[in-house]
Symmetry: D3
Subunit: 139 residues, 6 copies
């Protein structure tokens, strides 16, 4: 059966800031600019997860998108939506919440669960604003 890429979008709204706690406010501002505001800021993030696989001859599905959506909620969205990415999310502890790091961290959350529903995780894309986004393809 043909191998296709299927993509599901989910959204979450979260607070965060950039900055290393051991650095001074000045050094953080010099490095991270307005993103280092001590009292946080936030975004409406968009998460695009692409799964690769052969379509089933029986269903015409690579994976059931309802199952994929539930999985994305369980392993990512429910843990980050309406949260502070730097304070409230166990799997992000000690990870600076740059969009780059979020994409990699979400990949780690998702790779194994997606393999269990029969797909192969191909890409995690995180969009922070309409102008900025990151894609991670693993590896």
């Amino acid at each position: 059966m043909p191998v296709v890429h299927i993509t599901r979008r989910e959204r979450f709204s979260a607070a965060h800031k950039l900055g290393r706690p051991e650095w001074s406010a000045e050094k953080n501002f010099a490095t991270f600019g307005k993103c280092s505001n001590p009292n946080w800021h936030g975004h409406n993030y968009e998460l695009w997860v692409t799964v690769k696989g052969a379509t089933s001859a029986e269903t015409g599905f690579v994976v059931d998108l309802s199952a994929l959506s539930r999985l994305l909620h369980e392993h990512v969205i429910d843990q980050v939506d309406h949260k502070n990415l730097d304070m409230d999310v166990p799997f992000l502890k000690g990870v600076g919440s740059t969009t780059e790091n979020l994409a990699v961290a979400f990949w780690k959350q998702l790779e194994s669960p997606i393999s269990k529903i029969g797909g192969t995780l191909h890409c995690v894309k995180v969009q922070e604003t309409e102008n900025n986004s990151v894609e991670y393809f693993g590896g």
Copy 2:
């Protein structure tokens, strides 16, 4: 000269939470749901400001959009972008940061400055997510 409505969009990213400080966490959660997360969450807000006025016979402008954009930055965007709406913004002190209250507060910031560049403020629209927005027409 014909009277038209001209709209300028600006964007800002901010943290906030909903909840009355004198209420218990339980009551705040019952009232405001996940928006009451104690450690904040955040959004990419969009601000649409509509100015009404007669077009100038000389320029064909109601107001100079560059001047309007600078004004919106000075009186709103620069004060809320990459900030915590509940902690960092003097003109929002004591105002619960619902989208309704933001629209009204931004109107108060903008009405007088816009009149000074020759326009009449007609509508402030604040979009919190792709699904939720508020318009305020004054009065």
Copy 3:
């Protein structure tokens, strides 16, 4: 308290066709064009519901958007999503499923329930495609 307009977007995907059953296929095609295809076609509809009201001094809300969303699902979305608008929807029986008629029919479904949660229905907007939409303000 200031009176504002708050808008909630919901989405649904449905099949429909245009045409009067008592007319010939030729007359239906002459009147409704490709929208009269006998075997149906369909759309991803967007529904924008605007509620007008004074903000609460206590909560800063006109209406609780979560409650509004549940209400929209109960009275409209759950009845039309992944349905055939001409065959499956009791409140649309005998109503040609033009976007104009949908907007009016959704208004009738929503006006009373919205008044019961403390708001006044101001506008129902139905978007059929990225190029076509209808607004109904009652009356």
Copy 4:
């Protein structure tokens, strides 16, 4: 029958510049900024035309959207798409091509033809960029 507002979007791509021919380049730059570039610039414009009217009991239409689209092409789009708004468009001769003036000029082009297909022109909206737009309601 209920009165509704129906909106059709069309698009066109055009060159233009702002500036009064009798003014110096310096004065035009001081007034119109980068929009006065002598060698033109351009935009993907979006035109949203809203027609108000009672729905037909027979068809459920205010106006046939296919007829409306053809009318918009004949009276506006075909004359401005892939054109220079300041050089190629008879009905814009002597009209500075600000978005404000375009909205008014398009209204004049459309009001009478729309009345002939049974609708009342309610609003012409012209969007110049994702951040700038103008609405004209006549009068």
Copy 5:
């Protein structure tokens, strides 16, 4: 000459349902959920076709986009727009209308005609809703 990828978007609105005719309604619902509604539902689909090729030194084109658009209409859009994907489309007969299967079927329709206008089909992307899409790269 440099090799680039050029993408053209087209849109179509269609009805469909998911489900194997030889299965019971219960099994179809268990497998395909609300997408198995017997009376159909529908979508505004978006089709993105990417063609790869060297740019012509003479024209700066990989392929003439007008020719590509006509080709997409002839081989796909005109056959699926305002149709029932499961009843009205010869090249989809016996193919369950999942987005995965649509992407593969459209590829088969397009690969040869695109090669005849001098391009190489690189990707067919079908977007079913704002949250769901499929890409097929052949093979």
Copy 6:
């Protein structure tokens, strides 16, 4: 450290036309259609630049997006925004302003500067209209 792809969007509005100066108007129209209008037309272009690289263990960045944005403005946007692509842009002299050629020309402008801020240019995407875009991956 993981290798990710980071994308920044910028926008510019410009005039252009297609056509070879040594060809007749008839031949240009036969080849380039309405894009050959002698008095120009224009677009709101979107530029998406994707940079590939390992995330920094110290900052969590591949490249500082603020630095990337400044670089894009210096080497591309400031030279093309509110300009005539065929008359005003030194690095496009003698290059027909098809979207294909723009993507390649922007790549040449950006490859070296991006390497100097520590990233590797991966893709330049230029979107001319909501329906047409080109991606160039170098080589």
